[in-house]
Amino acid sequence: MSQYAALLIALPLISAFFVPVVKRLSRRAVMPFLVLITAVQTGIAAWVFNEVYTTGKPIIIMAGGFRPPVGINLYIGHFAALFALIIALVSLFMAAFSAKAITVEPKDKYAMLFLLLMLGATGMISTGDIFNLFVFMEITAISAYALTAYNKTGEASEAAMKYIILGGIGSSFFLVGIALIYGSLGTLNLAQIGLLASRMNPAVLQASLAMLVFGLAVEAELFPLNAWAPDAYQAAPHPVTTMFSAFVVKAGLYAMIRIMYLFKDTPAFAGILRLVLILGTLTVVIGELSALRQTNVKRMFAYSSIAQVGFIAVGFALGTQAGVNAAVFHMVNHAIVKALMFLAAGYVAVELGGVSLEDFRGLGRRMPLTAFSITVGAISVIGIPLFNVF
């Protein structure tokens, strides 16, 4: 029965392929179809979540019926189940919001890319195979490129171009890292790599680990490789910005941390931990400093989001159990809060037609509810007690 959790991957995929048919039947049906599918996805994710938390055991999906070192498996543990649920929920809200916010044609293509972005992030957090991780990373990245450029303005194209170039370098390096690991261990399964890690030659291990971290840092927006992020956040359609901040980045970060912790008994681990710590700290400092200078609300939130990701990375890189717990907690909270804030900002932008700080003046009178939610979000980002991000 638990194998039916594979629907988590199969459903978005089959419905993305179904969109052209829906479009032929009726052009207006595409957006309601998108909402329907994300709702069903939320249902499946909730079922998986319930299953994992009541039995207390992780669900392991074996594709093709081969046991883990041989075939590819999806490993849905506690965290992955929770995060799959969050992804599905955020996607559901964003799908509903898209029906209002997306005015640029062709909407059917937008719906397909949207579903596949959700699929990629879900796959990235749950996969148990390092090359499969690469494939899901590429699914996420390529649909993110296309969605960033979706508005077809100059800024959007330029942001997407930056993203593509950095992402291309990153994925090549990631693949080199996989090649080195495969060349010395002969396996691609994450769990087995963890078991055999001490057998690796230290020089090879260090090089491959650095390559893998470098490759994932593009997705996870760590400092030297996050130049794409503010532009992309600003230029992408509003629902897509929310999705980037809420789970695409987190999925990249989580994958990176997972790969790092596989090698925690090897001598190279301390070095790589220090590297991530430094990168995370730089990300926080630079992100926060840049956020202060912005006049565009979406861009400001983008910098704030980068800084928060830096915080999470620092938490993981501390290497203690408390640090990891705090980081996971922060990751979930930040996903929710940032989703709320971007949603509110996007909603204002759709209603009032602009996202500079000027447009937000007098918001409290015109749209009290939205203004309230932005305030709540902002307060919790600052870290006032009672609100969850601190």
């Binding site: 032929r24 081969f66 899901f136 590429e138 399964n189």
Partner: protein, 235 residues
Amino acid sequence: MVMKRAIAILTLLIIGYWMASALANVPFGADKMLVGQYYLDHVKAQTGAVNAVTAVVVNYRGFDTLGEVTVLFIASTGVAALLWRRKRERTAKTEGSVVLTTGSRLLFPFIVLFGAYIFIHGHLTPGGGFPGGATIATAFLMLYLAFSTYEIPHRGFEITEGLAGMGYVAVGLVGLAVGGYFLFDWIWQSWGWGHANIGRLFSAGFIPVIYTIIGIKVGTELSGIVDSMVKEGGE
């Protein structure tokens, strides 16, 4: 300017030396197989394919291939979405010469046939869905180059693409229903068809089925990308 270029080259050489010194510990030409040896030992019994690469692509690592097909689908969707204009048409002005047009008209069916041969025989000979599909797309590319007004039938192609993708997932879901695992090879392992003729066409379970689907899908997708790139938007 020369200075900056020199700095860039120096940095790259350092990276290169670092990579090379890591690679020096991964001996070239030595036997490093762990899972690979298992595949080679069991491939005939478990999947019925003679070509081990095909078995790995479709059976053991079928999930990757599903993702790969999805990536190509995203690319073709993305290209179509980004080059979307209200009205688009081809702008080529010169018609191909007589030799070119006649030749491509003559060759077109053979190239498509060859592509189909490549993907149907994927479990026996080198090749498979991806080169086969690319070969079919090349045939359409040739028509685009030879005739200045040629267009692929869009609606048909779009629907075929979607249906082929759904077919792949549906085959996987049937595996889930029949064998209990997503992408389970139900034709070979549950029904046991074709065990007698390993090495001939009708064997290897669902590999030919999936490779046919992939071939069709890759062919239509690459042709769709070519179509989107060739046509320019008017006002």
